[in-house]
Subunit: 340 residues, 2 copies
């Protein structure tokens, strides 16, 4: 690999079920030239997120699938190398969508500049980026938590879930997380201030939720669907709200499993509503203002799981779908000049 080449990871096969490392392939290409109205940037950090499983499937979803032999998609933090756009200059740090490659070209659409003084650059892929905005909008706009209510969140130590629970606490709610290990339970209760935690791998969900939520469940922020949603549905309160944000439990399923019986929605006049962060870009400013304040005040803490090098991206992405990461999963693709 040479510094003057563009290292890329392509999608080679559409996985059936669990993706394999061999579904991806590393190639070297020449660094692209930005045309008029474009910029070239060097990728520093690449975000890995469960939603990407949907993008490599041929099934209909909210976005077109990644084409075979194309570069894997993904949000990135990058530094501008050359700009033919008036609003960006060489050296600027930006959030863009280079995907799984060391260099990318963009027309500037949907890209924003980062102030490296405000927060570590990589935060723009997590607590101050798409996952944080997801937590903020789906919880506040669909979940509408009221002080004194109980908020349950699945995948609670992840980039989205950890922010959900902490905002729930800020809003005066009881926050209960469901995670996949005792270490993660320990973290969200003792570090992040959740009131209670359930280890879905060692505890029976229904009685564990019953104990953790003595006043029932008012908001369930669903990152997973599956058995957790099933158990939650039996314990929702009148007028409960369930933002459906992810279905991690079935992303690798070859046949879609059935869902929960919906009788509790009727009995409790509750709602389930699908959420996609792309619909909420007009909330970005309010979100950044609130969240940066909460981070500054210590009300929101944030954990990253940084992996070095694009070579490892496929492997850790596969692990992420099994809950193997701990904290926001990020690949450091090239050196971060703001870090000593």
């Amino acid at each position: 690999m040479s510094e003057s080449k563009n290292l890329q990871v392509l999608l080679k096969n559409r996985p059936q079920g669990e993706p394999k490392v061999s579904d991806f392939a590393k190639v070297e290409n020449s660094i692209p030239e930005p045309a008029d109205g474009e910029l070239l940037s060097r990728t520093i950090y690449l975000s890995l997120d469960p939603y990407m499983r949907g993008r490599i499937s041929a099934k209909e979803s909210y976005a077109d699938p990644v084409e075979l032999d194309s570069v894997m998609v993904g949000a990135t933090v990058s530094q501008v190398v050359q700009s033919n756009l008036p609003q960006f200059s060489e050296g600027d740090f930006i959030v863009d969508y280079n995907g799984w490659q060391t260099y990318g070209v963009s027309n500037g659409k949907g890209i924003r500049k980062l102030d490296p003084e405000q927060a570590p650059l990589s935060y723009a892929l997590g607590v101050m980026g798409m996952p944080g905005l997801t937590a903020y909008c789906a919880l506040l706009d669909i979940g509408q938590p009221q002080a004194g209510e109980t908020v349950v969140v699945s995948a609670a130590s992840g980039a989205v879930g950890s922010v959900v629970g902490q905002i729930a606490k800020i809003k005066g709610c009881r926050a209960v997380g469901v995670v996949g290990s005792d270490e993660k339970c320990n973290y969200i209760v003792n570090e992040l201030g959740f009131d209670s935690c359930i280890n879905r791998k060692t505890q029976e969900l229904y009685p564990a939720l019953k104990e953790a939520c003595p006043d029932g469940i008012d908001v369930y922020f669903d990152n997973t669907a599956g058995a957790i949603l099933e158990a939650v549905m039996q314990q929702i309160n009148l007028g409960a709200r369930i933002p459906l944000v992810g279905l991690i439990s079935q992303y690798n399923a070859t046949n879609l499993p059935p869902g929960p019986n919906l009788m509790p929605l009727l009995v409790k006049r509750a709602l389930i509503k699908g959420f996609l962060v792309a619909d909420y870009q007009d909330r970005l400013k309010a979100f950044l203002s609130d969240v940066s304040g909460w981070i500054r005040d210590g009300q929101i803490k944030y954990k990253e799981d940084v992996v070095e090098g694009l070579d490892k991206a496929a492997r850790v992405f596969i692990g992420q779908l099994q809950g193997e990461n701990f904290g926001k999963l990020i690949v450091r693709v090239s050196p971060d000049p703001t870090k000593k």
Copy 2:
């Protein structure tokens, strides 16, 4: 049976699965005396509705179950025999909740007077009563149909569904009904003006819906859940709304079946929201004003299935859960003095 006795139908057994006639028993008791602050009324019409299946089950629901050896509950149109309440007089026609008996006593709470000049008395149990209010509020408040959108409704020839489709037409939507016979299909298309109809017993749901809804489904008014909801979910449009109003398909189920996979809710950012008419009593006035106007203008037509005599109530209620009635099911318990 004597005119001076109160004929009552009691719940004798909690049915497992499909109710049987022997789960109910007819008894004669003396006519009750209204105390101070009460009135006595003679039942003219009794409404039979699928929700009653839930009331005779021990499972948790939005109301306490009917106790064993108690009179079956139900909305009624009655005439006041004796009133110790200032706002009601002997001879007044009222909507009350005598249930399955010829005479009942009430404290006046939740009871309203009927003007026999405005509409046939029995309409107050259907198009101008709880079923009509259900159709109106769940469609307009949760479904929020916009002109040009497609509205699908299950149990479409029933007391609720028939009104849903006709209001959808009034609002400029394409109305598609799902029913259980060709006769019902014929009725909702040719008499009520639905654009299309599917016979769930003879047609495959997915392709039939596909053909009936060439632009996809924006609102699904769900009276049934089950296979129809499953097929609808695969064809919803962006931002679709699904008021969940009934789950007739599973009311006799001894074990709750699974529900639909919820992935389409996420992909389409759609919502399912449970509905109970009791939450919408403040909409009664607007509803009565709108619906009486629509009936007067011929924009809403209405069909009743009137059965003579309390003796038949149990049998026809059991049939209703199988879709055997055709039109709003009502029992004429005693003569209607407004009819010649």
